[in-house]
Structure formats: structure tokens, C-alpha cells
Symmetry: C2
Subunit: 388 residues, 2 copies
């Protein structure tokens, strides 16, 4: 077999998935033995169609732009694959003399990574397959955290801070901001860092790790309205009730997922209906994973590192693993890249542990904030109130 490398993106993009691609390229370009550096166009679908983008000839100044480009610069997909498709992939890899495969994605993609590496082994192919972690939701197992999360965390922390400052000067007003992360509350929780500089942060935080009780929510808001006029609530898009049912109705279903109504609107309307106060819901949605102005510098650098590490690892003969981060110290913040057996990661969703959630289930703990703080890449801008 020859020496070609293929990179495949899977699942929803983040603000730094292309930074990992940049890291892969930076390392790969040091190896003239790689005849081709391919990107699969639009994810595994592109691999199955043998639709490859030659990345080796992309000029340096264009590659640099990957660091400030959201989305997936080579496209992505979210396909559930059958065993025969894995078999087909091995044939394609052999045909195109692809010896190194890097799969950049979240839980679904790591499942693909494990299955593809096993399919190659079963066929006796000398192909190294490696996962690059990527998830704004931060729900990949074992690794301290995943690229994509730090930027999503910075976005929600700063945006919620700005909303808090905005409503602080308004007449009574309840604002519910909806945060991404259907099953894992990491992003929602990161909004707590809004208060770091000057104490101005969200009043209530509801995570999908705790059953949501609408009566308790209304009580929480009522209690706060006795003390202040502008209340900011951050709620996960995936809140469920005590029976595990989403608090909003499903709107439509596809093979892989069900789509629900907006939690933010639902909770805002609840406040209006039950308390008679002005309330509005905000849902930044995709903007929260695509914002370049609020990209975390730490996240970007770590994404590059993850890509580089994965590339080095396959070239050194490693396979069936995912790059992860081990935190060596929080203050000063220091991580090292590690390789994690893909079986330990595959299809396991990491949610927030109990010690990161407050007792009332409407906020986070100091230990969560300590853990999360270094990931957002520096403090948020200082703001001022003359109205205290």
C-alpha cells in the first residue's frame, strides 16, 4: 500500500473543527512520504462516494483562514452506517492506497472510528484509524474536555453576561436564554462564568441532568422577583420532566433524531401566563457554535493540538484510538494530549457529574466553575453599572 492520508468530519461543526483540520495539515505537510492528503467531501458519504478533496495543494495563507472559519470547511455528515458500508469503506481505502484515516467528530463519529478500525483489522489491512475529539456539547468520555466546548462556553458566558447587563437597567423583565446540549448540561452550565468579573451573571440555570419541575421554576422566579427586576434564566434545550419526557412537544422526527419546540419560548410564555410579567425567550442556536468573535483562544490552540497529535499518532502506527486531553493542573492550567482506546469512548455520553450541580438543581457549584474557567480563553470584558 501507498502512503495517503484521509481526514473525515462527522456530525455538527464547532467554532474550531477547522482548527483541528489545520493541525492535521500542519503535521501532515511535514511528511513528504504522504503522496496525497485527502479530505472526504461531506463526511463519510464522501468517503463512500470516493469523493475526495486534495488538501496538499491548498496554499499556506488559505490554511491559516481555517483558524477563523466556523462550520466544516470540507463538509460533514451525520449518517448511521451499516456493516456493509464499513466493508465498502475498507475496499475504497485499499483502492486509493489510504493508509491513515482521521475521523473528527463526536460520539457518533467515534463509533464509526471504532467500527472502521475493526473492519480494517478484520480484513488484515494495514490502515491506522484515529479519532479527533470534537463536540461543542462536551459529552465525549474519558477526555477532560473536547475541542469545540471552550468556544461554545465562551459564547454562552459572554452572551448571557451581556443579556444580564441589558436587562439589569430595564423595568421588570424575565429573559430565558436557551443553550445547546440536549442530554449534557456543560454549555448551559458554562453561562455561570458570566458572573466572574463583577457578579453580573444568570440568576437560574437549569440543566438536563436534573428533572425539570415547572412549578418549582415559577417559584424560583417569583422568589427572585422580590429582590430584583431583571431576571435571566439559562435553560438547556433538552430539559425533561420527572418522567424523562421533554418539557416541549416534538415538532418532527427523522431517522436519527427528534426535533422539539423551543424551550426558551416555552418557559418565557409560562412566566407570562402564570406570573403576568413580561418575559421573552432567546435562542442563539447555531450562532453559539459558529461565533468566531467569541471563539476561545485556548479552545482553538487545543483543537490544533488535537489534530496534530492524531496525525502524529497514525504516522507512528497507532490505531483504534481517540486523542483526548488529560488535565495536569488547573491553576496554572496545563493539559497534555493522550490517546484513549476507542472502545472506552464509543457511544458513551458524558453528562455533568453531581458535584458540579447545586443542591437545588438550579445552578452550578464553585468546583464546576474552577474546572470550566480556563477553557474559555481568558476573562470576559469588564462592564460597569452606575445604577446600584
Amino acid at each position: 500500500m501507498g502512503d495517503n492520508l484521509l481526514i473525515v468530519h462527522g456530525g455538527g461543526p464547532t467554532a474550531v473543527i477547522n482548527a483541528s483540520l489545520y493541525g492535521v495539515m500542519r503535521e501532515a505537510l511535514k511528511h513528504p512520504e504522504l503522496s496525497h492528503i485527502y479530505g472526504a467531501r461531506n463526511g463519510t458519504g464522501g468517503l463512500l462516494k470516493e469523493d475526495f478533496i486534495e488538501l496538499k495543494d491548498v496554499p499556506e495563507e488559505k490554511l491559516e483562514l481555517l483558524l477563523q472559519t466556523p462550520g466544516s470547511a470540507i463538509g460533514t455528515s451525520r449518517d448511521a452506517l451499516e456493516q456493509e458500508e464499513y466493508d465498502r469503506m475498507t475496499e475504497i481505502l485499499e483502492k486509493h492506497q489510504i493508509r491513515y484515516v482521521l475521523l473528527n467528530g463526536g460520539n457518533g463519529t467515534m463509533d464509526t472510528c471504532g467500527k472502521l478500525s475493526k473492519a480494517c483489522q478484520a480484513k488484515g489491512l494495514d490502515v491506522c484509524v484515529m479519532g479527533i475529539p470534537k463536540t461543542m456539547d462536551n459529552d465525549l468520555a474519558i477526555t477532560d474536555h473536547s475541542p469545540g466546548f471552550g468556544s461554545a462556553a465562551r459564547f454562552i458566558a459572554q452572551s448571557v453576561k451581556e443579556v444580564c447587563v441589558d436587562v439589569k437597567g430595564l423595568p421588570i423583565h424575565v429573559v430565558v436564554v436557551e443553550a445547546s446540549g440536549r442530554n449534557a448540561g456543560w454549555i448551559t452550565a458554562a453561562s455561570a462564568l458570566a458572573a466572574d468579573e463583577d457578579g453580573i451573571g444568570p440568576d437560574l440555570i437549569y440543566l438536563p441532568e436534573r428533572p425539570f419541575d415547572e412549578d418549582k421554576f415559577i417559584e424560583d422566579v417569583k422568589k427572585l422577583l422580590k429582590k430584583k427586576s431583571g431576571i435571566v434564566v439559562v435553560a438547556s434545550e433538552g430539559l425533561t420532566d420527572k418522567d424523562g419526557k421533554p418539557i416541549v412537544k416534538p415538532i418532527f422526527k427523522t431517522e436519527r433524531a427528534t426535533y422539539f419546540g423551543d424551550v426558551s419560548s416555552h418557559l418565557a410564555n409560562l412566566v407570562v401566563d402564570r406570573l403576568g410579567y413580561k418575559a421573552r425567550g432567546e435562542k442563539p442556536g447555531l450562532i453559539g457554535r459558529a461565533s468566531i468573535s467569541l471563539q476561545s483562544s485556548v479552545d482553538r490552540e487545543e483543537a490544533v493540538l488535537a489534530g496534530e497529535t492524531a496525525c502524529k499518532a497514525v504516522l507512528a502506527g497507532e490505531t483504534g484510538k481517540m486523542v483526548g486531553f488529560k488535565r495536569e493542573s488547573t491553576d496554572p492550567y496545563r493539559i497534555i494530549p493522550i490517546l484513549i482506546d476507542i472502545d472506552e469512548v464509543m457511544m458513551y455520553e458524558k453528562t455533568m457529574p453531581d458535584e458540579y450541580i447545586n443542591e437545588e438543581g438550579n445552578g452550578v457549584t464553585e468546583s464546576f466553575k474552577e474546572w470550566c474557567r480556563p477553557l474559555i480563553g481568558g476573562g470576559l470584558p469588564k462592564m460597569i453599572s452606575l445604577n446600584d
Copy 2:
């Protein structure tokens, strides 16, 4: 009467309302004859309660933070005032020896400005009252544009660009981003600047100046889906049908306003229902007027200028006017501050003229983009696709 100055904020804040306050302070502090520089706490309500914040003693380094603080640092309100309240205000101004009043706000506030200046004249009070323009929606008359708009325009242009780049690499996907501006489409229209650098911008733009036809919308989307997989639609929060009725149901009403459901969710659901494609709605809402990372530098500087100009004007004896901008040139961009008779401004909402809207009613014209471009404070970051 003594020589005190009062500044009052009205209506919803913008990303630069505090920059105008900074401009007022910078000028006012040059005048030792001003014994007090007051801020009315929480708008006209604070004035009526004689609840004043002394701004003269705020240290310089704190004042600087006003330039990067969204919301209203002295609070704001949105009260409909009666004639007896204007009479009461004149008494309070007299009692506190306030000779200069600056009202920073939008249409409602300019109405207050006019009425207060007339009430002072009727009483023979030597009080100068001046309006400082402030509206993210850009719907104040006569002035070329208003502080607050440029930053809202930059936010929507860059955020929509990021969403476009994000969905470009995804399987078929329709995203509807909801933009602020219930009756005036200026912000919605500004999303067109997303495409400036590299042609990646929104596919369809629906403004409140045109009746919205759901069948036509579905046809527009269907036509585009034949050519590309990721469609981004920007829709005003205030879209109405051919009979002038909002396309979404009202959720609740207050004395001054009616609150409607989310246009973005409504249109996304329409795509799912009628076309069977994946679609999602995004509503950045307040984030769009509070974002400091996407504040326009031009907007910030002009907001400072508007505050300074208003302060100079009242000190020179001008009254019953609003500061505005006259555009002297678009390329190179150059404006000068002017004073506009408040009667010309009061309660008149400026919407988009026909020449800024395309014939089909689903986009904007080049002349709009030319007009808008200098206001967002420089080009958006370059991004790259390797997937064309």
C-alpha cells in the same frame, strides 16, 4: 436657576447607548459651571421620583468602561406619560435647578423630548432640552441613521455569515434567523452584508416593509433547494401578511405593546411541514443589541459624538431639537452632526424606502448595501471553504 445637567435614557438599550453617555460626560466635565451632572435612575420614572445618580464623581477609568458596556448603565424605562407628568417634571427641574436636559432614546423618547421642551417653554422656564438619537432599529426620521443601528447591523451580518458557513457543509438544512425591528427592516436587511467578503451570505431576506406570503416563501425555498443544500433565511420579527396581520399569533399584550410568537420557529416549522426538510429557527434576540464583541467601532464613535454634540448644543442654548447625522459622503464615509427640529422627528417611524428592497421582495438592493456598509465598522473576518 443654577446650572445642573440631567441625562435620561428611554426605551430599549443598544450596544452603544452608554457610549453616548460617555460622550455627554466627556463634554460636560469640561464645564466647571455645571454643579451637578445627574443621571435619572431608570428613565423618566427616576426623574419623576427625583431619583438622581450623581455622575460628576465617577472616576475616569470607570467612565471608559461605558464604551464596552451594553444595556443602560443608569437604567431606562418605557413609560407613556400624561400631560400632568410633564407639568410635574418641570417643577422637579426647577426645584433641582436643572437647566439642561438630555433625553437619549428612540421615537417614544423623542416624543417625550418634544413635549417636555414645550412644557418648559409654556411655563417660561429657561431649560434647554435636547434629544440624543438611539435605536438599534434605525427608525428615527431625518437623520441618516441612528447610534445603535451600526452595531446591531454588524451583529446580524457577522452572525448570519457564520451560520451560512456552518450550514454550507451540512446535509440539506434550512435555517431561519429572526432579526429585530418590528416595523422597520433595517437590521434584517443588514444581514446582506454577510456576503461582502466571499459571497457567502443569506439566501432570502424578508422585510416587514413587504407583505409576507407563506406560499411564495415556500416556493422561494424550494427553488433554492434545487441548487444548494444549506439555505439561510433572515426574517424580521415583525412580518405581516397582505392584510397587515402578524404571521404569528400574539402571545400577550401590555398597555404599550403586543408580544408575538417567534417568526423564526414559525417559518422553520412551515418548511418542515410543507417540504419535509430539516429546518430550524434561531432568535438571537437581545444578544443582537447587547453584543460588545460585535459592536461597530464606527457606531461607537458616532454614539460618543452624538452625546458630545447634544451636550454642547444645550450649553449653547439650543432646545427642542434632536442631534442627527447628515451623510456628506459614502466613499470615503463622512458624516457631520446636525440638529433637527424635534417636531420633525416626533413619533414618526422611518422604514426602508422602496429603492433599498429588491423587486421580488426577498432581498435588498446594491444601493442599500452601499449605504449600510460603512456603518458596521470595517469588513467581517475572511473565511474559507475547501468544499466548492
